[in-house]
Symmetry: D2
Subunit: 363 residues, 4 copies
């Protein structure tokens, strides 16, 4: 209810502030018998480690994860899998001057209003991007669950600073080996230029991330309020910088006609239900349930709000002020947001899969 | 869990198929003491009544709502408010021929797969647009709750068949008195032309609906998974034809720089927190909580899947088939989807408002 | 959250006041393919019909149930099963004089305090025993789900007015054919005498109901907060007149030693897990999960609060008053509470069964 | 859903096995601004520390709690309060011989069946009494929230080994300073004798714990499935050794007549609602909501299942076996269960209080 838990059967509860003792999570509902070790989580966390790309901060976050419970003799036991990541490279001093002002584009103002003036201002507290580390760790377990059923989640940056990878050129499955987790090698030099220009200008960039899920069976998602599209939209929009989510043709569908947007079915004995689709304008979701095609989503990612410029704002007493954010910040949420969006997609789907398994009671 | 309930404190559970005995809902969690009568629900339902606009079906749906519980002597009692809408103008015969084929773009295929071949095929069963009537009835109560706190939800069509109302020309508060619930009078003739052309071509149209919420206090929404943006995305994406949701600048934010997208704060004593914003690129949501500005959302609405043309598909035995959908269908989900999106927005916000902790708890 | 929904996967939401238009419920999460018709619900409702036993009111409640959705061609479709029961034999006039006073032992005072003085006082409003009709109707579906897995719920009165059926003499499976739904024929004459004496004295009686579940597999229930014992305790204690719940030896276990209370296991190849228990002091639940033995529960049922005597109380303005409850009331909640406790047990178990993870998920 | 979370607004999620790295919890939904430090949690944990009484194990559990998040500058921030307790005094070797047999009266058999043979057998894994440490830590926060509203929870042992403290002699508020957390000084010598006898016999004892809540306002709890009585029953029955819960007169109410069991109201201007009750047979709960009187509950606690005797059982291959439980075990769950029951009561009530505050929207 207070919103630090995601999922219904597979439930991830996260905790932790940027500069507290630790952040982490509890993943409840993972079936017993899944092979799991700390390395599985660590590998996923390393993907969102800063400092490895041109758009990254020089801040070092060790992010060593420890599993506290729920795993015995190398497999999950069905009990809650708790994990924590100690906060080590904290320079709270960097943030002390931000205690009394509201940074534009940040959650400072809304936290202040929501919690009656009480706020852990160090590094954004719980609104820090670091909060997503726990999502990534939990998502790593979800990805293993999905993999056990032949389902894989791929995510890639398809646009940065207004420069998009053409749809036909998007190569989703290899993105993790490219700079920016880009959907194409060709775009990398262009994005390098855009990043360089923005850095020179003391500014930041936004972009678009595409997520594709392969291997999901037909029938996941619940038909009304818990459509899988709705659950995925919630999952992805709950990530800080995301300002839009679209499925399949998405906003372009608004400009298509029915005859263009419908996906005809054709007989196909290789497909579980004996049929396949000739096209995938629907993005793999029909009536809120998976159709058995690839699920295709895109997320709009806003530019990082922490810009190295003086900005006008007010202080906590309502007086005009300026703020200059020092600290060490990324120039774009891309690429680090990419594994976060994978993780949220995996959590949403694994939850739907577990829920669906349970619904097939009389089959 | 099975997904026919929306909300946490203010919970709407809906039921009903297109051609069953009735559809309706149970709204649990409405505080005691709200003045409420059947007319409040009926007026909202009448807004989504078919047959009144150029893009509408000639099918008549009486949609008379009856309140079954939870109201006594003209006010809510705090107990569940149940309501039902009898299904009267059902011509099941229109749909009998659809029992054995999967209509492209519809939920037939996914229901079939999810429920092991069991499916109420009459008029789409629960995947019918009629399902949204219960959302609208429940949303009418939510709107009254919001109104009691000075919060109003406005929705309007801002694009149809690729013809958009320019952002500066959008007049949200008067949309309900215009054809198509359009955001401008000027666009109506253009949309009439687009509809006429589509009808001539035996085709259907998509569009975009904008939702604006005025008067929401700062601090609604929970900071992590239950960001108000995430909850709204789920709420809106759970409506059948919606394929994309964006907030504030939305996908355009991906192309802005941080210096363009941040909204500076300025002192403003007329504002509850003593500050206001110079712009609203954020769409009234920062860090997943309302900022006190207008909340601005847009939804991509796909073209109606039922087109009056022969389409290729497969039947339930996996054989190639064609389907020609007779019945009586709208040419676009606009305008009828507009009050549905208002309703879902109102339900999400009223729930967040009730959940928001009382400032005075520890004060 | 506001508490009119029970269950996690199989969720029953109920609505309705004693003297409103109707009461009913929505059962969400029932798998598709269960044969179901109105008679299934009606038969269960008829068991709690008043007017058939020595301890019953002469009030007639038709309680004709109508299924509104979720069933098509004789089977459930996986969508919500809504049902309603019109209120027909209402004599609101009987209750008008109770609008301004709080009946001792009733919920009048607590409703008044909770809902700020707003209250549907007619027949107790939502606190009426009639509220349980919706539980019984929903429970009938749960019992069919359980029966499909070979699980049966039996309930019987084992004590009335202080006269108990000795444990060895309790015959659970035939109770529904006996007066009082008693666990033995022998006790009936004694209970007739107790009822007659109470009626003569203008008083009411309490009792104890035992519930036994046969055929539940081992492993139902979740090990920590959602122990099946905890869920059953909630389910049963949520029924108005229940003031205590115990499992297996229950309160008697407090007086046993470990060596007496432990149930030794013995090899038994006829049993699914290859083992059985020599005794069942645990009541079929170990560590909060079913052991595969019979589940054995008992509920303490308080005497009906509506006694045909003048009682001292206060009115809504805080002044001393007396109240004489006319109306038509049962002399004991037994037998009518018996099918209600069966229904709640069935709902709790069917939910646990659906939740229980499929053994094959990772196998 | 998988059952490691308790509460709706104030949600405690716990994790951890007896012999894993750590156990702990995440308390979500605590309002911002509550003064809180690790000592608050530690003091509560120390109450359930073993080794301090005649019925205790000599095992030493340091149980040092660390707060990981959610507290800043001495007050709660509204974000999740995570805490962990490292497992230090683990002698896994003590338990190795239990990997292949099912201890009678323990959860071994049911875990084995539920989780397909996967089980952390060391010290009972998650079914260990150590699991309750996280409840006690979370409950300490709940007690502080309640105290801020003038509500206090008292628990005391009222019966051990069949020797009860007479109802009139129960002194609830001072129990924490007595051996056994007993409700009276007088009973202590008698209980010492019972414990001595049981120890001599190589056996264990059960008992009864009473819980009394003072200061709760009228109107807490939701009238139907989430009656406060039902929530408390779930909360208390979810503690391992509890086999029965009763409220007010409880099972004795089954033997009272209505005229004896009803509590008359009398005018009382000192009381918030202008009225008080002449008696409290109802145990402070009417119609599932608090009446403003003391809430009075009792829990039946079964004897500890680990007895220092050879017991008959089966092994994991279904063969007859014997088991002799060495290890270090308490002789009775009393007194250590007493603070656990306080904690669960406090969590249930604080949750109901926060939920109720939110319901009073239109007042």
């Amino acid at each position: 209810m207070p919103g630090n838990t995601f999922g219904r059967i597979l439930k991830l509860t996260t905790f932790g502030e940027s500069h507290g003792a630790a952040l982490g999570g509890v993943l409840d509902g993972c079936p017993a018998g899944l092979a799991l070790c700390e390395d599985d989580l660590q590998r996923a966390l390393d993907l969102r480690k800063p400092g490895t790309g041109p758009a990254s901060t020089s801040r070092r976050e060790a992010d060593r994860v420890q599993i506290l419970s729920g795993v015995f003799e190398g497999v999950t036991t069905g009990t809650p899998i708790a994990f924590s990541i100690a906060n080590t490279d904290q320079r709270s001093g960097d943030y002390g001057n931000l205690a009394q002002v509201f940074r534009p584009g940040h959650a400072d103002w809304t936290y202040w209003n929501k919690y009656n003036g009480i706020r852990d201002y160090r590094g954004g507290g719980r609104s820090s991007g670091r909060e997503t580390a726990a999502r990534v760790a939990g998502g790593a377990v979800a990805q293993k669950l999905l993999a056990a059923r032949g389902i894989a989640v791929y995510a890639a940056a398809v646009e940065l600073g207004g420069i998009a990878v053409p749809e036909a050129a998007r190569e989703m499955t290899k993105s993790l080996s490219r700079p920016y987790f880009a959907a194409s090698d060709d775009v990398v030099p262009l994005w390098n230029g855009a990043v360089e220009a923005a850095r020179r200008d003391g500014d930041t960039l936004g972009g678009v991330v595409q997520v594709v899920v392969k291997g999901a069976p037909a029938g996941l998602g619940e038909p009304v309020f818990d459509k899988i599209s709705a659950t995925l939209a919630q999952a992805l929009m709950s990530v800080g910088a995301v300002k839009g989510v679209e499925i399949g043709e998405g906003f372009a569908a608004a400009r298509l006609r029915g005859s263009e947007n419908n996906d005809p079915l054709i007989p196909d004995l290789d497909h579980p239900g004996g049929a396949a689709f000739e096209s995938n304008h629907a993005g793999g979701i029909l009536g809120g349930m998976t159709s058995g095609q690839d699920i295709v989503l895109r997320c709009a990612v806003k530019p990082i709000a922490s810009i190295p410029r003086e900005q006008r704002t007010v202080d906590t007493r309502g007086r005009a002020a300026t703020v200059l954010i020092a600290g060490r910040h990324d120039l774009s949420a891309i690429p680090r947001i990419v594994p976060v969006l994978s993780a949220m997609t995996a959590l949403a789907l694994a939850d739907a899969l577990l829920l669906q398994e349970r619904m097939g009671f009389l089959a």
